[in-house]
């Protein structure tokens, strides 16, 4: 396997990407939409590995950082979900230049929510349809996600100082410290407003919806998402530690195998 090529794309080449190209013939490609904040850090290696494994099976894969994150341009407080959605679309457009087959998106957490929204019908005249979606543990309710991050911050403070020093209400400042990541108040409000159930997402391409959990039964919110879309999705669950929350080795073979098997059948 060759090393991924580093590329820039988007307005003023603001986005940093790593392009994994197959050595032989191509079946198509997909962009990887990372999660947000600490989750992106924890999931970094896993997302690299799925890109590498998929490239070995003939898929071109583009990993990238949203504006204001990772190696892309912009200060961290310039990150916003609406801008990140534009970055997803720019990544898809960039990958289409490399691919002759179908181009899709694989997203985790916030990235899965963005991928799902990028697949919604647009008024653009451009051919920007998405061939398929792979949604790993999508962020379904942004308000709940925000509260969980605040709570995680309280737990971290508890271990450091013996008890929490902050507040579950979060900060009233213009720049919010969300579990160690600076977020503008406007971006925080965008994040909190995410709701994948309302309005129901429609016109979905072939989609793999996967939960990674200690249980083989999809959680109620994952099932609700599956039932709300058009066409309805089949919610799957693989036994896998939540690698996007862990630092250190996690056995991700179950989610890799489920995803690669699904891609193999996608024609």
């Amino acid at each position: 396997m060759t090393s991924p090529a580093i590329i820039r794309f988007g307005p003023e080449d603001c986005c940093h990407g790593a392009l994994h190209l197959p050595a032989g013939g191509q079946r198509g490609g997909f962009v990887i939409c990372p999660p947000f904040g600490e989750e992106a850090k924890c999931a970094y290696r896993t997302l690299y590995e799925i890109a590498d494994l998929a490239a070995a099976r003939g898929w071109a894969v583009l990993r990238f950082d949203y504006f204001g994150t990772g190696n892309s341009s912009g200060g961290f407080d310039s990150f916003a979900p609406s801008r990140a959605l534009e970055d997803v679309r720019a990544a898809l457009a960039r990958l289409r230049r490399e691919c002759s087959g179908p181009v899709g998106a694989l997203g985790l957490g916030l990235g899965a929510a963005l991928a799902l929204d990028a697949a919604q019908p647009s008024e653009s005249a451009a051919d920007d349809s998405i061939g398929f979606l792979i949604l790993w543990q999508p962020l379904i309710n942004g308000g709940e996600f925000y509260k969980l991050n605040i709570k995680r911050q309280l737990v971290r403070q508890m271990l450091t100082h013996g008890k929490a020093r902050g507040s579950s209400e979060g900060s009233p400042a213009d720049i919010i410290d969300l579990d160690g990541y600076a977020l503008s108040k406007a971006a925080a409000n965008e994040l909190k407003a995410i709701n994948l159930l309302d309005p129901p997402r429609t016109d979905l391409p072939p989609t793999l919806l996967l939960q990674a959990s200690f249980t083989a039964t999809p959680a109620s919110d994952i099932q609700a998402l599956a039932a709300s879309t058009s066409p309805p999705l089949e919610a799957g669950s693989v036994i896998c530690e939540p690698f996007w929350k862990r630092i250190g080795f996690v056995d991700t073979s179950n989610i890799f195998n489920s995803t690669l098997d699904w891609l193999d059948k996608l024609e």
């Binding site: 969980l148 709570k151 995680r152 309280l154 737990v155 971290r156 403070q157 508890m158 271990l159 013996g162 008890k163 929490a164 902050g166 507040s167 579950s168 200690f214 249980t215 530690e241 939540p242 929350k245 862990r246 630092i247």
Partner: protein, 83 residues
């Protein structure tokens, strides 16, 4: 699902933290942080697990490390919120 609060907590901890021990191996007074190397990430999983299985929500002033050190102390906290 076990009935006793302590047993429910042990089962949840083993399940959610993917520990390679059985719930019965955890003693009520084991220091969880030390014995099972529970860091902030795993402690967060425990907090969320407790909130889900006991249908409770912890207040900011309840995030006190002593309350989460052993199964006994966690059980006391859960009882105080459910009774």
């Amino acid at each position: 699902m076990p009935e006793k609060i302590e047993d429910k907590i042990k089962e949840m901890i083993v399940e959610r933290l993917f520990l390679s021990v059985s719930p019965e191996d955890i003693a009520d007074d084991d220091n969880l942080m030390e014995k099972y190397e529970i860091d902030s990430v795993r402690l967060f999983e425990i907090v969320i697990g407790l909130e889900e299985i006991f249908d409770i929500s912890f207040e900011d002033d309840e995030f006190n490390v002593e309350a989460f050190q052993t199964v006994t102390s966690i059980s006391d906290l859960v009882r105080s919120k459910t009774q």
